[in-house]
């Protein structure tokens, strides 16, 4: 696997040459500082661009074309890292080495047409398509409660209004109403002209040719910019834990805990925190899984996720009604135990091994490779080998030190009426 960075002035092209795959993957990522009021329109833009373009003016025709290109996979996503929002457009297609009648160039050009040849007349997107995408997003927003885990996490984070992680990644109904084919076109232009752009190409393709295709068709007016202040400001620790409770018709209680993390070093943010969180609630061998599920049968799942660039960690579990206090006691006790160094040292070594395996396994998929190099670009994390070496270095003391920087801040429960009465 051979990584190269081409600085093209306005944007970067990251090439990763490997003969591991029969496919070629090309991903274009636009990023900018997140603004709450832009989340909805950014989601609409993602959906509308993927629906048609000037050559294939309806979804039907566009998808037929992807099928003709040997089922080229066209994927877009919108996600948030710290203070930044990343809008991505990606194609994955069978390399010209394995098919006769389609070239890599045609497939790359297809992606660039999705981005630069949208279905626009008189500086407006197509109204029918915009309206349909709006109705779909509206559904996503109103049906959030169908997934009790993500709903609960969102309801808890929503309380911290000054922090980007409180924003609803789907967007807001009041912002949705304001979007029309005109305002969307304005936003589209501002993304093309202002966002920071990184391009990733993975596979066994002619990179010189690919570079020429980008030179010819990648018509952005943006200029090279640096990403600043990715990390969200700290949520100060609190001495009194906030609790929020919502009553609903549910069969199990959702217990969601927000931990604030203060004073992380750069190394801790990139490496130690992931090991800590993995030990605590990352696998079916974790400290919390063992204590809450295996020893006490209170839950089927309990996990922790670390959001390093938000300075927070979240613990969540679906528990037996009326056991909230008991489960909380267990979790608090386990957090304190780690701080005192009272944990099985095997847990630490196991988590390191698990994370290292994950880093190695990421090399087996184009998206794993792109994520690694995008993180390198975005936050300056290491490449595969450097990350493995750094994970290996982490000691018991490192875990004890970081554990002192992590404190429970707020607790949210979603529970039924009955469990409320008996509490």
């Amino acid at each position: 696997m051979n990584y190269n960075l081409l600085k093209m002035g306005a944007y970067n092209i990251h090439t990763i040459k490997t003969d591991r795959f029969k496919t070629v993957t090309v991903e274009v990522i636009f990023r900018r500082k997140i603004v709450k009021e832009e989340i909805t329109i950014r989601n609409i833009l993602k959906a509308v661009l993927l629906n048609s373009n000037s050559y294939f003016p309806s979804e039907k025709e566009l998808i037929k074309e992807t099928e003709n290109l040997y089922d080229l996979k066209l994927i877009s996503s919108n996600n948030i890292t710290g203070n930044y929002t990343n809008l991505s457009f990606k194609v994955r297609f069978l390399s010209e080495k394995y098919i006769e009648d389609i070239t890599d160039k045609e497939c790359i050009k297809f992606l660039l047409d999705i981005i630069f040849k949208p279905n626009i007349k008189n500086n407006e997107f197509n109204k029918n398509i915009v309206d349909n995408c709006k109705r779909q997003l509206e559904k996503n927003i109103i049906s959030q409660k169908d997934n009790k885990i993500t709903y609960s996490i969102f309801k808890l984070l929503e309380k911290f209004k000054d922090y980007p992680y409180s924003y609803n990644p789907n967007g807001y109904l009041e912002d949705l109403k304001k979007i029309n084919e005109k305002t969307l076109y304005e936003y589209y232009k501002s993304v093309i002209d202002n966002d920071i752009v990184d391009i990733f190409i993975v596979g066994n393709t002619d990179f010189d040719k690919a570079k020429e295709i980008f030179k010819e068709y990648f018509s952005t007016r943006t200029y090279a910019k640096n990403t600043k202040n990715i990390t969200v400001k700290e949520l100060p620790h609190t001495t009194k834990i906030n609790t929020f409770k919502e009553i609903d018709e549910v069969n199990q209680t959702q217990l969601t805990i927000l931990c604030s993390i203060n004073n992380l070093t750069d190394f801790e943010r990139k490496y130690t925190l992931s090991v800590y969180s993995n030990m605590l609630g990352g696998t079916s061998n974790s400290i919390l899984f063992d204590a809450v599920r295996e020893k006490n049968s209170y839950a089927y799942y309990i996990n922790s996720i670390n959001k390093s660039y938000d300075n927070i960690m979240i613990i969540f579990s679906g528990i037996e009604p009326n056991t909230t206090d008991k489960v909380l006691d267990i979790i608090k006790k386990k957090l304190i135990n780690i701080t005192k160094g009272e944990f099985d040292k095997n847990n630490l070594e196991n988590s390191k091994e698990t994370i290292i395996s994950g880093i190695k396994a990421a090399k087996d998929s184009p998206s794993g490779i792109i994520n690694t190099y995008f993180a390198k670009e975005l936050v300056g994390s290491g490449d595969f080998e450097e990350r493995i070496e750094n994970i290996k270095k982490i000691t018991t003391n490192d875990i004890i030190n970081i554990s002192k920087k992590i404190k429970i801040h707020s607790i949210y429960t979603l529970e039924s009426e009955d469990s409320n009465e008996s509490n």
């Binding site: 039907k60 040997y70 069978l94 029918n128 049968s297 679906g318 091994e353």
Partner: protein, 424 residues
């Protein structure tokens, strides 16, 4: 060791049957880092009435036993517990239960042989006690509650319940609380002895390894173990009518967006083709009719009835195929009327048929990039076709437009039902 050549995709799979009956499939991908290993028994939730290996009488077991067994095999009497062992080696382990199989698995980048041996040992060494079985009940009941809090899961459960009368696919894989409370260690041992014989199991290894060395390790491990003589397990036979159980049901649930399904129950036998071809033709027909490239999809979106194309779901049971068209929309009455109208004439153009064939072939090529998908593909072939001897591309290439037209003329889509999950 036999080589199964998958000519169309230019890939090969190694195969061996051990003396004790265990089938082994290996797919080796050089320059990859990860390995994915699955150990599967042909025992899933539908095997709920059978003659146990040491008995002559048919036994009816509560729903959810195969899944309960899956949870409990992770308990070991001595030594490290599976989660701990795999975790120490940086491996990630898991297991799942379906209608027709239970699969134990791990993925790892290093120490493949050590992990593989451990997988075989823990699955082949059950340790059930009254205490550990009782402890598991609380955990499984929380798993049941998790599904009960998901409106989509409620929909899928109800679709099968309202479609099948005697076919055990109608039951839930995990069971209900009352089923779980009936399970004890003796019942688990009875099922284990009947279904976990090597002759009823198979191992699939995909990743970067040397097949000969790996096979040697497996043989040594299996040679050291004693198994009773294998006896074919007799299942209770059932007759499933072509008619559905309940034609319409609306369920009130805790959701803010209605979920709707239009389900078609089709008798396999009447289609006169093998299961794989039936699936491929049904996939092609229904994705052309309702997928993103269909006129139906375009019109319904323009009318504002749907916003996403219908999800087409095929459930293969031994007697019938159940096709479910699923969507999330509060305008479900209009959608259902339009589906009924649209299905009155099924007309597939040759051009669309050929394009979908191309899509199917391309997807087979895509899947060889992912060792987990290759592994699952082999499992699926064995579970649903009882054999893995060639790649799916062969079967896809054999499809032809003339046969499709005959297939459509034999297709009886009058046995249908509707399930809706909606808010108060």
């Amino acid at each position: 060791m036999k080589v199964i050549n998958l000519e169309n995709s230019n890939e090969k799979v190694y195969y061996e049957k051990l003396d004790n009956g265990l089938d082994i499939y290996m797919y080796n991908k050089e320059n990859y880092h990860n390995n994915y290993v699955t150990f599967t028994t042909k025992f899933g939730s539908i095997y709920n009435e059978f003659i146990p290996i040491d008995s002559k009488k048919i036994l009816k077991i509560p729903n959810g036993v195969a899944h309960f067994l899956e949870h409990k095999l992770f308990a070991q009497e001595k030594g490290p517990q599976p989660e701990e062992f795999f975790s120490k080696n940086g491996a990630i382990s898991n297991a799942y239960t379906t209608f027709k199989n239970t699969t134990y698995l791990f993925s790892c980048t290093d120490k493949l042989h050590e992990n593989l041996t451990f997988l075989l040992d823990f699955v082949q060494n059950p340790y059930f006690t009254k205490e550990n079985v009782d402890n598991e009940k609380g955990i499984i009941i929380q798993e049941i509650n998790m599904y009960k809090d998901s409106p989509t899961d409620i929909l899928y459960e109800k679709i099968r319940k309202n479609s099948f009368k005697n076919n055990p696919f109608k039951e839930s894989i995990i069971g209900e609380k009352k089923d779980i409370n009936k399970v004890d260690k003796d019942l688990l041992y009875t099922c284990y002895k009947s279904f976990y014989h090597p002759n009823n199991m198979f191992l699939v290894i995909t990743g970067n390894f040397n097949p000969e060395d790996t096979l040697k390790i497996i043989k040594e491990n299996q040679k050291s173990k004693q198994f009773t003589e294998f006896k074919d397990i007799k299942l209770k036979e059932y007759k499933e009518p072509d008619e559905v159980v309940k034609e319409y049901e609306k369920i009130i649930a805790n959701t803010d967006l209605s979920k709707v399904s239009y389900n078609i129950k089709i008798n396999n036998k009447k289609l006169k083709l093998n299961q794989r071809k039936i699936n491929l033709y049904l996939y092609i027909i229904f994705s052309i009719l309702f997928g993103e490239t269909s006129d139906f999809n375009e019109t319904e979106k323009e009318k504002g009835i749907i916003t996403n194309s219908l999800n087409v779901n095929l459930l293969n049971t031994d007697s019938h195929v159940l096709i479910s068209l699923i969507n999330q929309t509060d305008k479900y009455q209009e959608l259902l009327e339009d589906i009924r109208e649209y299905l009155k004439t099924i007309d597939i153009k040759e051009e669309d048929f050929n394009r979908k064939k191309k899509v199917l072939i391309s997807n087979e090529l895509f899947s060889f990039e992912n060792i987990e998908i290759v592994n699952e593909m082999i499992i699926d072939n064995i579970i649903f076709e009882n054999v893995f001897d060639k790649d799916n591309i062969n079967a896809i290439k054999e499809l032809n437009y003339q046969e499709l037209k005959e297939f459509i003329s034999n297709l009886d889509i009058k046995n249908t039902n509707i399930v809706i999950v909606t808010k108060k």
